[in-house]
Symmetry: D3
Subunit: 136 residues, 6 copies
């Protein structure tokens, strides 16, 4: 039971329906997941969010599967179950193997462990990791 | 000024010195960054952390550059400056371009935005994203 | 199933019952939500938490509806489902419209996105945003 | 020292310069803060981020000062110093008094405290806070 | 440079001065750290925060050193440098050894790692860890 | 329904079965909780995680009950339900009373509140809390 209802196709405003049509066209599927159906109660929020996501996840300098894995990693760190499940499914659909998921989880866990150690000890940044001030 | 001192080579216990020797051998460099020099005050913590990191970041099903980028993404989500700077440097050393860093940041930002929307609206997980209970 | 039981009125200690009476008087309702019923197993924790909340949420320089919206925003960022649901209900009871909720969510999402970008890039604070050292 | 340089006006690409011109026009000021000057190294990221922020922070159902205060609250919860300082400055410029900032901080602190109590005790959501399933 | 000034003794309002007098009496020291000097600009926030802290950190079912170590652990997880440094100092003053700090850090790191693994894999809670519904 | 299945004993690989045997021997119980049964799909991740946990939670400078309470506190701050429930059960099994749990929760809540106040006000660290640079 979400805060806003999970809208069915026949309950959409014209602006929300247009966004759904674009999601279907870009993703080449008729399946619209609940995230968009809940956002659809606020068409301006729906439209802006989809527009941004479409740009960010489009093919570019990074492989689409890598982008989905980064999305999963951040969603774990932020503790969002919906996002973990939906983007794990998306990453698998883009070719992520279970062995790759295992390594992703290992990196996320390890990074969280060393993040806390570095923060807890207030480790000073090495000069070697700072940009050259002459070029900044 | 860290909570524990940044130990110099001549201040190391024999156990910590042995870990440093392994870091240098595995990484093929004489440079030991401050994270390890601060951990060195607790040789057991140093040894276990390095042993885990060595296993997790070793070549496997994921590309080493991808692993470093996942590390950066999690470090941003966890808010650890030291880790962001050191692993951004490591990812660049493994070939990450500035265009790839830009896309990584875009995914981290976008994921954080949609994580909050899904959480704030308590979006229910789609059946399609759940594992098949028959095989679970 | 909570870690501590959801206490019924007849299960309360005298000290917890007195806190419940104050909650009912201040809120002008007989409804006591589960948060307080679970805290009631530790009357000192219950009493101190209610006392603080009563002071913080009382009318002051900020509108009560604005305070509830700030509460919702922080609860989303901290990932607390109970708090998101209870304070969204409270904000609606104090007049928050669905259009206002949509804008609240948009700000929470956008802030989370730019928070990660500023952190990921380690943007230096502008002089213009720092307090005047002469008056500090 | 940021991960990417703080670009000066004469170092901007034409696309970044166009975004800066729009920021100046919308904000009615010649001051461009470092966040945008650092993002400017990736004009696509700069343009999309500014475009979203402009929409989200525009006048709407919520008062602009309230939006800035929500931004500050989320930035505190996410631990972003840059964002806390820049949006506290923006909220003050839009009329936030120090008494209002004090109450904002009190709500953010209180919400974080009760968020942890509700999570730590795994308090079950009250039926009264759930949407009516008949209308969902 | 804090958002509010670090007030000197001669700049305090009478209400803030009274809180400082109580801090000195309870802690048996003349040293007032910056956290309270900054909060002093909002005497109501100062008074309520000190009153809560005094109750929470008072001797009780838990050892004062253990309370300070829990404070440090939470401050690391929340990423608050000021709080890590001040409560690490307080824990040392209450007898925490460097070996104990090392084990504290190891637990914080390990917990953060397994937290992410359990969240990333969405591990279902074992029946054995749930309260007995008959007694709830 | 977890992302990976909850493996039964007869579904384990030989390497995972060996880890389970060690868990049973160290913990002196035949009960293996779901966390390990889900990790078992990736025997390398299972083995490394158990090996680390065994070292971190072994008797040392800190009392085992204190270690479990630190684990609970961090799990609350990180928002991991599974971890909160399993380590609260473990802490109780090691002697944590309900009064001690109440104080633990009070410290976690209070620390989260003051963490946000210190971060929101950007309180500068007192000289007294910094290590002596001469010895660093």
């Amino acid at each position: 039971m979400s805060i806003w209802p999970v809208l069915k196709d026949e309950e959409l405003s014209p602006r929300a329906a247009a966004v759904f049509a674009d999601i279907k066209a870009v993703r080449k599927t008729d399946f619209i997941n609940n995230f968009w159906r809940v956002l659809a109660s606020d068409p301006a929020l729906l439209a802006r969010t989809w527009d941004s996501l479409k740009q960010v996840m489009a093919p570019g300098a990074l492989d689409p599967q890598v982008k989905e894995m980064l999305y999963v990693a951040v969603s774990i760190a932020n503790g969002c179950e919906y996002c973990i499940r939906s983007h794990t499914a998306a990453a698998r659909a883009k070719g992520m193997s279970e062995a790759q998921l295992g390594e992703l989880l290992a990196v996320v866990g390890m990074a969280s462990e060393t993040n806390r150690l570095a923060t807890g000890l207030q480790v000073p940044v090495d000069e070697a990791f700072l940009p050259d001030p002459k070029t900044d």
